[in-house]
Symmetry: C2
């Protein structure tokens, strides 16, 4: 198949491109290279099934470049839309980051599909669309949807636009509601943050929040496996799935202790006073993935195992940065 | 109080401004005068508590004009955001109309609040955010939210952005989920459409769809009454309310017969073959307003009574156009 991946040079996008190429597909990667890096695509670019075009999808004046690149390949079968602001705290100061990089890039990706006659759209949504449900489990049919971060708001806005497009030019849409995802190439997130902090100020690890925040973490290899499984198995017009490790998650305190033990044994951990790391942080949530389980998918790594593996990967990544 | 109303020169906006002025508030009306008309504000403009500024909120370069006008009045207590594309079928061809006029105007209205320190935001949302729930009742906590029109999608996207703003600079947000609203000054909608068609082609009324579409209709006077009631009574951070007439609604066939009897007796009615009037039309829905009823609000006019009254108002409006 011929597949477009937006956000191709990002953390998850680059891993997805690799996997799709291994499966024998032809892939056109699109990225504005703001947060993503061409380095991450080194192995993909060695594959003759891969093409890359640098386009900022949020800029309507650049859309024709993506169109041209796609048209030179032939009929596109799928578009995976992963381009987005990936950093929740970055959207706190202003809605503009998420508006532009998450939402307007979705509008452009939809326009690409319409113009290219591509009828299958796969979207990297997020658990952040649910907002803070307190002790209620996050299930796909939960409502009302009241996100508490611009990140979550613009992911939900994107879902809405994609849903409307299903009425017109899309046959199938997939809404993958991601949990926290860990692995390499790490560009953001709690593990990278802690590892870098300890490198900068050895001996002390300052933690945002009181450490009680507890969330599920999925390794990127499991995430990609789940998305491909859903894409091949679920066949409704609109397919919404929470993706997660199906466990209670791990507290920020445990993660801090894990990082200290692995990266800088003996360092002191200093906690904040609030149970939120930042505005829009959902401190605890019950992520219900029973729908995905019923579809038949089984994860390989628990939250704890995913963090352990990703931590080692990140330590290696950061060592090579030096 | 000092109150901003966006979309002030529109159908509902102009009626809301009138009512707020009667209640003794000072009102700054904002409108881009695309669909709205200054005529509709004649009586408001005679009131010294009213000011008007022509600003296209979807254009970020015009935002400072709205800011200046607001700052000259003093501390703004509430912003009612009614500016939007009001015409669902108009958004079928392209997402751009609703993206711009409904969603980006919301982002600007939020920015106005942030910059003005206005902490109460009231939003004209819509039953269209629910999409087509089939026989399931539309309740405020229904999910997932999968709108089937760009109109509904951009209303939902707006709700998401407002919800995130509640985490930062808003104390209270109100999401008024409107049903079909009828009355004058009518700018669009089934009644006006039928009255104009009969005027253009006397003797024949062509109806989009097979006439079986059945929806609740609320008269604009009841709508405004409900919004003011909710605003004064509900006090959560995020207040979501379906607003409707609490009845089964009226079929398009009944409306067509009603219009023919009143406007052009003896005319033939020609129906389409589909139960949808256009892409994104939700043919039937059970609009649940039990939450609003529990809050204590009682409507004056049923769907049928609202349509009957609005039809007479519209016939007078259209006669005076001649």
């Amino acid at each position: 198949m011929k597949i477009i991946v937006t956000g191709a040079a990002g953390f998850i996008g680059s891993q997805l491109c690799s996997k799709l190429l291994v499966m024998g597909h032809q892939v056109l990667g699109i990225d504005n290279l703001c947060r993503g890096r061409l380095d991450y695509l080194l192995s993909c670019r060695a594959n003759e099934g891969f093409q890359f075009v640098e386009v900022d999808l949020a800029d309507p004046n650049q859309l024709h470049l993506a169109l041209q690149a796609a048209q030179s390949i032939g009929q596109i079968d799928q578009l995976w839309h992963l381009a987005a602001n990936s950093d929740i705290p970055a959207g706190v100061t202003s809605v503009k980051v998420d508006l532009r990089d998450t939402f307007l890039s979705t509008i452009s990706s939809l326009e690409l599909c319409e113009q290219l006659g591509c009828r299958k759209f796969l979207f990297a949504s997020s658990s952040a669309i649910y907002g803070d449900l307190g002790t209620d489990p996050m299930m796909e049919h939960a409502g009302p949807l009241l996100p508490i971060s611009n990140y979550g708001a613009m992911k939900l806005a994107s879902e809405a636009a994609i849903s409307a497009a299903c009425e017109k030019y899309l046959d199938h849409a997939y809404f993958f509601r991601f949990p926290n995802v860990v692995g390499v190439p790490a560009t953001h997130g709690v593990l990278l943050d802690f590892v870098r902090k300890l490198k900068q100020t050895p001996g002390i690890l300052s933690v945002l929040g009181d450490g009680t925040q507890c969330k599920p973490y999925l390794h990127v290899c499991d995430l990609i496996d789940a998305m491909l499984f859903i894409s091949a198995t679920a066949n409704d017009r609109r397919n919404i799935f929470n993706i997660g490790p199906d466990d209670e998650g791990v507290s920020v305190q445990s993660i801090a202790e894990m990082v200290v033990a692995e990266a800088s044994p003996g360092s002191k951990i200093k906690y904040g006073s609030d149970n939120k790391g930042w505005i829009g942080d959902v401190p605890k949530f019950q992520y219900d993935i029973s729908k995905l389980r019923r579809l038949g998918w089984v994860r390989r790594l628990s939250s704890h195992a995913a963090l352990t593996r990703a931590l080692r990967e990140i330590i290696i990544q950061e060592a090579s940065v030096l």
